[in-house]
Amino acid sequence: MKRFFVICAFCGVMFLSGCGAVSVDHDLTNKKASMVYTIVTNMNSSPSAYANKSYKINGDIEGSLGYYSLIVFDDTNCCSAELALVLDNGVTCPKKKTNVTVIGEYVQIDGQYCLKVTKIS
């Protein structure tokens, strides 16, 4: 009986730890910085190939007054690429130059491609 409760508790903890995880099409937080930079550069130059997919990306926040972007650097910190962000309802932006992880869908809004952010951490 004791073993049964321990197993149930363990399963409950494992279940709850998975609750906060958001499934995305492309999780770039565990990729090399140079490849993240390359992917973001390609998202800007050929956006239609990357549209309507969800992304999880790490970078520095820039911008203010409703216009935000995520800056990603390559491994040498020499080259940077900028991804336009649009914050979804209820999502607030931290201070400029803060390193954040954003989750969102790459969509076209008013003719411009941007990442519609649903979560910032």
Binding site: N30, K32, N42, S45, D74, T76
Partner: protein, 283 residues
């Protein structure tokens, strides 16, 4: 995620497939061209012309027009002039290359700094000079342009290999037997210009000579006939480029430098194999 899963993930992106295809085509062209240039002692011409191409690309960047429209014609014209000047003996080969190389590099960097509208000049210059990620940011137009130019280059080497061989090894005798050596030299200069501009996308301006020289030198270590050297240089250049691109993707290293290091390792392996074969034959 293991290596194969990582590669499978990256291969879903078109830019990775374009990089592999273009890498194979460019390394094939460089290998074939490299054998001729090494034998004619024009090894450093790639370096000089790549700096000229950098200067031309800087002008294109400032004028905000597609870089190929400026780089290709300028590099081809300079290549033809360079080969003509050295053949006529007006300027020594190495002096001409040195003048062009430093002059064009300095000019290019100066005008990019003074007139450029880019927000990240150092990044753009770094990418162009060292080819850190330029091969991974190709679009469909770049891919097809590369394919068409490669067909032109490979076609020339395949259909005119006999004439190329005779002009490379004994230009005087070829001229005496009626071969239009000036025409072949001009075509070769055009090919050099085209290959240099393409190779800049793969390894950057400063490292182009490695892509031209190392496969040829590796092949010359092991083979003595012209045909075998060309074939082996082509194979080893393609293999090195593919390995270099895959290593750069997996470990986040700059693509150009990685390919050059792989070429150096391959040259070292060929050198060791040559020594082993030579010692075995002696024994």
């Amino acid at each position: 995620m293991n290596i194969f899963e990582e590669l499978k993930y990256y291969f879903q992106f078109d830019f990775v497939k374009y990089a592999i295809v273009v890498g194979i085509l460019i390394s094939l062209c460089c290998a074939m061209l490299g054998v001729t240039l090494v034998l004619k002692r024009y090894s450093m011409i790639g370096d000089g012309l790549s700096h000229v191409a950098f200067g031309a690309m800087s002008v294109a960047m400032v004028l905000t027009i597609a870089d190929m429209y400026v780089m290709l014609p300028v590099t081809i014209v300079v290549a033809i002039l360079l080969i003509r000047l050295t053949n006529q003996g007006k300027v020594k080969n190495d002096s001409a290359i040195a003048m062009l190389s430093v002059g064009a590099l300095a000019f290019g960097y100066l005008i990019v700094n003074i007139f450029s509208t880019s927000s990240n000049i150092s990044g753009d210059v770094c990418t162009t000079l060292f080819g850190s990620t330029s091969i991974l940011t190709l679009n469909n137009f770049d891919l097809w342009l590369c394919i068409i130019l490669t067909i032109f280059v490979l076609g020339y080497f395949i259909f005119f290999h006999n004439k190329i061989f005779s002009v490379t090894f004994d230009e005087g005798f070829s001229k005496a037997t009626g071969v239009k050596t000036a025409v072949y030299n001009n075509i070769m200069a055009m090919i050099i210009g085209v290959v240099i501009v393409l190779a800049m996308k793969l390894v950057g301006s400063l490292l182009i000579s490695a892509l031209i020289v190392f496969p040829a030198l590796s092949a010359i270590r092991l083979f003595k006939s012209y045909k075998s050297v060309i074939i082996f240089a082509s194979i080893i250049s393609v293999i090195n480029s593919i390995i270099g691109i895959l290593v750069a993707i997996l470990w986040g290293t700059p693509v150009g430098s990685t390919i050059v290091i792989i070429n150096i390792i391959a040259y070292f392996i060929c050198w060791c194999v040559e020594v082993i074969i030579r010692e075995t034959r002696k024994a």
